[in-house]
Every structure is written in structure tokens, then in C-alpha cells.
């Protein structure tokens, strides 16, 4: 693992540098908000998760030491844990009880301009761990090793989650546009 590109910024935050705080928010807030929005499908809850994630960043900045994970991977893990807290509260399910099998029934055909909402619905209908894998690798553009690290699974398990998730999405979204 090479040098952590965020390490210097985190150190400056820990030392109380206000410019570093601004830079960190500008750098990470869009990523964390996007992650939470896609995991939860709710803009207000995503904002709450983003705020809570940053509170943890501020609290840990003065003691941050790079271990096995990069800072970016660590904040993804923090944000994902906060998302799962909300998903559990929302559905009153424990982690193990979250469904592993998605409802793959095709979604209704989209009206023009409505496909974005349709994709959002499909993402929410696949199993949360599959959604997590797709969000990390596809949207957040984490490498396979970083995503597997954030999810605390092997790369093989990550690839299995990705493939199953994409197959489910394909089944739900396939319509006139499918080849």
C-alpha cells in the first residue's frame, strides 16, 4: 500500500487547521453523500449520514494513524456502518436477516425522463450487500482491493456480490433497451 493521499490533510485537521477542514469537506463530502444516497435512497437520511461521518472524522483526526486501510477506505466503512444502522432501524432486521436474494421482477417501463428513478428503485431492490459492492466499485470507483477491504470480504466474495447484483439489476431493468 503506497502513501495515503489524505494523510497530510488529516494530520493538519488534527492540529486544528481550519483550511484543512474546508479542504477535507470539499474533497470527501460529495463522495460520502453519494454513497449514502445510493445505499439509502433518501436524500435527507443521506445528509444525516454524511454529517455523522464527518463528526467521526473530526473526532479521530488528531489520533489518526494509517493502519491496514487508507483514510478514504476507512471513511467509506464508517459511512456504510451508519447506513446499515439506518437500514436495520428502518426494517428492524439484523444484518444476517437482510435479504440476500433480490426481487428480480422487471420494473415497469420508464416514461421518457423517468429512467433515473427506475434505476434508483432497482438499486434499492437488490440485496444490500450487492448494492454496497456495486456502489463502492461502480459509483465510488474504489479498486477491487479497496472495496473488498471496506466490505471486509475477500476479492472473490466481492466479485460474486458484484456479479449477482448486476445480474439482478439487468433482470429488473431489461426492457426495450436490452440487447
Amino acid at each position: 500500500m503506497g502513501a495515503d493521499p489524505d494523510e497530510e490533510l488529516v494530520r493538519r485537521i488534527g492540529a486544528g487547521d481550519p483550511a484543512a477542514v474546508q479542504a477535507m469537506v470539499a474533497r470527501k463530502l460529495p463522495r460520502i453523500l453519494a454513497l449514502a444516497a445510493r445505499m439509502l435512497g433518501d436524500a435527507a437520511e443521506a445528509e444525516d449520514v454524511a454529517q455523522e461521518t464527518f463528526v467521526r472524522i473530526w473526532r479521530h483526526a488528531s489520533g489518526w494513524r494509517q493502519g491496514h486501510a487508507r483514510f478514504d477506505t476507512w471513511i467509506h466503512r464508517v459511512a456504510l456502518n451508519l447506513c446499515y444502522d439506518r437500514l436495520r432501524r428502518r426494517r428492524e432486521w439484523t444484518m444476517d436477516e437482510l435479504p440476500e436474494v433480490a426481487d428480480e421482477a422487471p420494473l415497469p417501463d420508464a416514461m421518457p425522463g423517468d429512467e433515473e428513478r427506475r434505476v434508483g428503485q432497482a438499486l434499492l431492490r437488490i440485496a444490500p450487500r450487492q448494492r454496497e459492492a456495486i456502489v463502492l466499485v461502480y459509483y465510488q470507483e474504489l479498486s477491487n482491493i479497496e472495496a473488498a477491504g471496506a466490505m471486509q470480504v475477500s476479492v472473490d466474495a466481492l466479485e460474486s456480490l458484484l456479479a449477482r447484483g448486476r445480474r439482478s439489476l439487468q433482470a429488473m431493468l431489461a426492457g426495450d433497451g436490452d440487447d
Binding site: M1, I13, G14, G16, P18, V21, Q22, V25, A26, L29, P30, L33, A34, A37, R38, A43, A46, E47, A50, Q51, F54, V55, W58, R59, H60, A61, S62, G63, E115, E116, V119, G120, L123, I134, V137, Y138, Y139, E141, S143, N144, I145, V155, L158, E159, S160, L162, A163, R166, R167, L169, Q170, L173, G177, D178, D179
Partner: protein, 149 residues
């Protein structure tokens, strides 16, 4: 942890498995397999596999999320000053407790060392009383024991 580049050509099965998992854009594929995947992507079979994966990629790209509002940005920045200051204060106090603990532990260790090295040092002012003998204290109980013999 860097991945070691794989040697040898990629077969259609592995190429399709990677496309199933990572989609049609090779930059998302495992770094160690990108070079061999690019060679296979130039074949008819490779192009067909990528075309299928790219359909879902195009759908996923339609899902956009809102950019953070200035109000959210401001709220997060405003919270930082308080949280960082409190955390530093907490660390300072824990450091203080830690140093005090180390000092206390040192004092206890020193006392223990003195006890082990110089146990029960006799007093210079020990006064032998009437019952004391060179064999120990022969007090009233000792007398009684002798009478009982």
C-alpha cells in the same frame, strides 16, 4: 497491497466473469488483469461481451445524486472546530492521567524494590528487655512451657 500482473493470455471465461462483475469499462477491472484483458477486448468475442456489460453501465450512469448543498457544507465545517477542540482536550487529559499513572507506578515499584533489598532492617535503638534472649523472646509463655515439661 499491489496486485501482481498476471502472465499469459486471458480466456473468454475469465473475461466474461470480469465483465459480469465490474462492467464494460476496463479501468474498473482488477489492475493486475487489465493488460491481458485489453488484448482480449480487441477480439470479436471480447467486444461482444463488453457490449452486453456496457448496456447495464449506461443504465447505471443515468442514476445521479444531488451535489451537497452549501448549507450542508457549512453545517459540517461549523461542527469541526468544536469536535476537534474537544477531542484534543480529551487526549490532553488522558495523556495527563497516563503520565500520573506512570509516576505512581514508579513510586510503587521503588517502594517494592526497597522492601525487597532491605527487609526489616533492625533499629539501631533496639533495647533488650528482661524477657529477650539471644534465642528470641522468652516471655511468660516460654516460662510456662518450661514449667510444663
Amino acid at each position: 497491497m499491489a496486485e501482481k500482473p498476471l502472465e499469459g493470455p486471458m480466456d473468454a471465461g475469465r473475461f466474461a466473469a470480469l465483465a459480469d462483475a465490474y462492467g464494460g469499462a476496463l479501468h474498473r477491472w482488477p489492475a493486475a488483469e487489465q493488460a491481458t484483458a485489453m488484448l482480449f477486448a480487441d477480439t470479436d468475442e471480447g467486444r461482444a461481451i463488453l457490449r452486453r456489460a456496457e448496456w447495464l453501465d449506461a443504465m447505471l450512469d443515468r442514476h445521479r445524486v444531488e451535489t451537497p448543498s452549501p448549507a450542508l457544507h457549512r453545517a459540517i465545517v461549523a461542527r469541526a472546530a468544536t469536535e476537534v477542540r474537544q477531542e484534543r482536550r480529551r487526549r490532553f487529559w488522558w495523556l495527563g492521567f497516563g503520565l500520573a499513572g506512570v509516576g505512581l507506578a514508579g513510586a510503587v515499584a521503588g517502594l517494592a524494590l526497597v522492601t525487597v533489598v532491605a527487609p526489616n532492617a533492625p533499629s539501631d535503638h533496639y533495647v533488650m528487655d528482661a524477657n529477650a534472649t539471644s534465642f528470641g523472646d522468652a516471655g511468660p509463655d516460654a516460662d510456662q512451657a518450661e514449667e510444663d515439661l
